[in-house]
Symmetry: D2
């Protein structure tokens, strides 16, 4: 059974210190919740994340999935900056409606060297995913 | 045999008109060359693309691969804004050195409904890829 | 809301008629259950699916995910042989224990031209996946 | 610069000893050539690899890519059975013509813990790939 070792507040503070550049252009990413094996990260899109028509761009959804993957791993191994993405696979399913996106990210495996996560991205209050991603991270020995 | 129908200049102009937001924070992406079945796109990284230490971030490489995939498709089907990414898979291979990144993107398939591309990202003058991606795009009937 | 249009028995019969070669070496794949948006397919591994030590091989898990993806799509669009896999991405998470494997496959999207599915493979009665896959299928106009 | 440490004959013998079950139903896989960073593996399809119409099935192409990935890694690290696939991503591009398939597999990275390869599958004498895959392998410390 996976048990988180960091709170949403711990995670937010750590990201602010270690990755201030994700807030370039205004604070956009918010750790919403942490649960065993799972986190939710919100993207409050600013102009730089949008495509004409006001919908969030594909690269912004990839960045969101990558960040949420990092957050769910950190939440369970503690504040080690050295976890690095080794691969990411994403399927874009539907055009998102304008508005915030929520990325729910679950640990499929938290191994000694490799973590694998699964992320679903949906509009707030929506059930159908607009995108679905899996990502692998190399995690430091611990 | 695939024959490009747009030049590097055509492609740059089209991107400026249709996706001005990719230049948020300063012009960063440049179409370098177009050849049968292949394009090269340069990322001149600005602060927002970097991680501590001055290396380009994973999400910036994903955005670069996604854009270069779009460019190689446009180059061969003409200026239709409606091609949309349906999936992207990326492997991060090495930490990039500080400096520009070049993304070479090749068409593996240009079908009636689906295009599949392969992208290698490397530092300028480097032979080893720092990242390798494949992407699929839904293309409009033509 | 997705509603299945074929039963487990319909699906088994259709597979037997259209893909008899999946039973080469003995009947190995069984459609276990069908529910809205989801199916479960069992692999009763025979010698040809095993690696030394008696665990199911990677290619056998890929074949299982591919088949279950096909089954969940058929279950919701009816018996059309023409759905074809366009891509498959799989992460191998743990070495399976000897014994049957169950693949639970869910529709993430059932569009006019493209279906996207997510599959988790686990040993019987096990909670942790041994492998997780996503697949895209090109579906015939209907 | 990558230098192979096993010949085609070494590789064939090692596979026969360690994975005899890949020859279930008749010898189908042949290591054709080994070069720095690259191997070619042939699939001489038997009935069990075919779909109605005589074309090689998707799962058979996945198995071919997985095997060729293993072979290119072994060729460069020596006969260690313990390399295991951690992920595989494949795009199916065209329906293959009846006949043998050749899988050309290149090392994109051969790291201390992880190897990443790229594979293109084509009919003999054909230039266009029928499928393209990337795979990651966990490699034993050495």
């Amino acid at each position: 059974m996976l048990t988180p070792v960091m709170t949403t507040q711990d995670l937010s503070q750590f990201l602010d210190e270690v990755f201030p550049q994700i807030h370039t252009g205004g604070r956009a990413y918010f750790v919403e919740s942490v649960a065993p094996g799972e986190v939710v990260v919100r993207l409050k899109a600013t102009d730089m994340h949008l495509r004409p028509g006001g919908t969030v761009s594909g690269p912004s959804m990839m960045a969101l999935a990558d960040l949420a993957a990092y957050v769910v791993i950190l939440a369970h191994i503690g504040p080690v900056a050295l976890a690095v993405t080794t691969s990411l696979n994403i399927n874009f399913l539907r055009k998102p409606e304008p508005g915030d996106l929520l990325c729910t990210c679950r640990l499929l495996k938290l191994g000694k060297r490799l973590a694998v996560v699964e992320c679903g991205i949906a509009g707030e209050g929506e059930e159908d995913y607009v995108a679905h991603a899996t990502a692998t991270y190399s995690v430091p020995p611990r």
